[in-house]
Symmetry: C2
Subunit: 285 residues, 2 copies
């Protein structure tokens, strides 16, 4: 045994733990054999590591099946709980949902995708790619394109035009540029009508924040009933309200002198940046 | 370096990774020195492990500070996304919040505490111990005592009467037994009026489910405005609705023959068990 471990640098050991934990993503509980196969580890190593992960509460065992445990959930929630943008967004999203009945999402730019950090509402029914912890391609979604329009070009992720879910989806650089121009004309707000899923309209605005990462707030609802111009206004105001709250500013009329240069979208070199400065942003309250 | 690693069994390496990740719980972003101190690891090991965790997205580095990363968040969400009780509870909780304005929680029994898995609503304002991913002592909370009354004695956690936050808190075995008797008289529903925090009333019911773990659904609101008897009825019906949905039963009138012996609370040897069988549980729809 000892000799077997001499070659294991911490990195490879971390990678083994990672490969086991990652093997549970998007799957139902797994048997030991399935974990070994998914992680590419020998059954004996997988079993030895799983035993310790179960003791730590990171993995839980139910008869012969393994799944991620509650301690992993608690660790994961730290990511959002430590963020002022999340604390600021939750009340705003909850009020928006209560008032409009639409589903509110707080999303974050991660590589070529957006990651949903918070969601208030249950429509569309199948939470799949709309659920908390789910990802959607940047170019396909309103939050993704709202962030592309707001983020300086040098911070852009690699743009990937992958599978196109509907005939309304953005499928080329030309279409993307045209949509980004429309977003800037709207003062930074993106509208996606059935480009992500048939029957679903999503309206999104970036949230200016000094925190690491780029965040967007969005509302989604049935295309046939959503009154776009009203939702665009709701989302813009909500995004500014979250930005002000997260920046420690009172939800009142503000003076230009209160502008926060730390907020990336007010620093942005693009025209949209100006649209998010306190001078031109719609006021709340 | 190599010799330094010979002694590292996988278990101790896993423990090093765990000690680093756990050191972020409940804290703002940490410097390398702080991580080393919190994890009890040499600065060099802490730095080596952190570097790899950053590459994995489990930890993120912002200038000189480290914090848990978005990949840890995504892994954590798998815990709830894989659970039918969570999928079934979310729409019910959202509707309850929209209709009553009260905050709905889905909580799970973990050791001597309950862990909040989901929350719809933002009251009480300071999400601290009421937030998703937060824990509260079993005996102090309505969800905790509702689960104690529902779970067979052999599955009880160790009962700890810790710090008492208010003069209304349960502080002794005698008071606990008296409250559990009241809960059984109420057909399994627990009511906590200001025992957890002054001005806060919480009403909770266990959710019968065949899944591993014991879950409770609760509503909380301001003591001065909550109409307890109405909320008790709302919570009981909601818990049954979630149980039926999670068990794959239609939300319609049910016959005794549809009883699911797999549901722990219908198996329970205590009187309350009967209160949660389809025969006597309040019907939904």
């Amino acid at each position: 045994m000892a000799t077997a471990r001499i070659g294991e640098t911490p990195t490879t050991m971390i990678d083994r733990v990672a490969s086991i934990l990652e093997s549970f993503v998007g799957k139902r509980p797994l048997t030991l054999a399935e974990v070994a196969r998914c992680s590419g580890l020998p059954r004996s190593s997988a079993h030895r590591i799983l035993q310790r992960l179960v003791e730590l509460g990171w993995v839980e065992r139910n008869e012969f099946k393994y799944a991620l445990g509650h301690r992993m959930f608690e660790l994961g929630t730290q990511f959002t709980r430590q963020r002022s943008v999340h604390r600021a967004a939750l009340p705003v999203m909850t009020e928006l949902h209560r008032r409009t009945g639409l589903t509110a999402h707080l999303s974050m730019l991660t590589g070529t995708e957006i990651l949903h950090l918070e969601r208030v509402g249950v429509w569309p029914g199948d939470a799949g790619e709309w659920g908390v912890g789910a990802r959607q391609p940047v170019v396909r979604t309103a939050p993704g394109r709202a962030l592309l329009a707001a983020v300086p070009a040098e911070e852009w992720p690699e743009i990937v035009f992958g599978a196109v879910p509907t005939c309304y989806s953005v499928r080329s650089a030309v279409q993307l540029d045209r949509d980004l121009a429309r977003i800037r004309d709207r003062g930074g707000v993106a509208v996606d009508a059935q480009g992500c899923a048939l029957g679903v309209t999503v309206v999104a605005a970036p949230i200016a924040t000094g925190e690491g990462g780029h965040f967007a707030l969005s509302l989604c609802g049935p295309t046939k009933s959503v009154r776009t111009e009203v939702v665009v206004s709701d989302v813009r105001r909500a995004a500014v309200a979250v930005w002000r709250q997260a920046s420690g500013m009172p939800p009142l009329r503000i003076r230009a002198t209160e502008a926060r240069p730390a907020a990336p979208f007010t620093r942005a070199s693009r025209p949209v940046g100006a649209a998010w400065s306190p001078d031109t942003a719609p006021l709340v309250g």
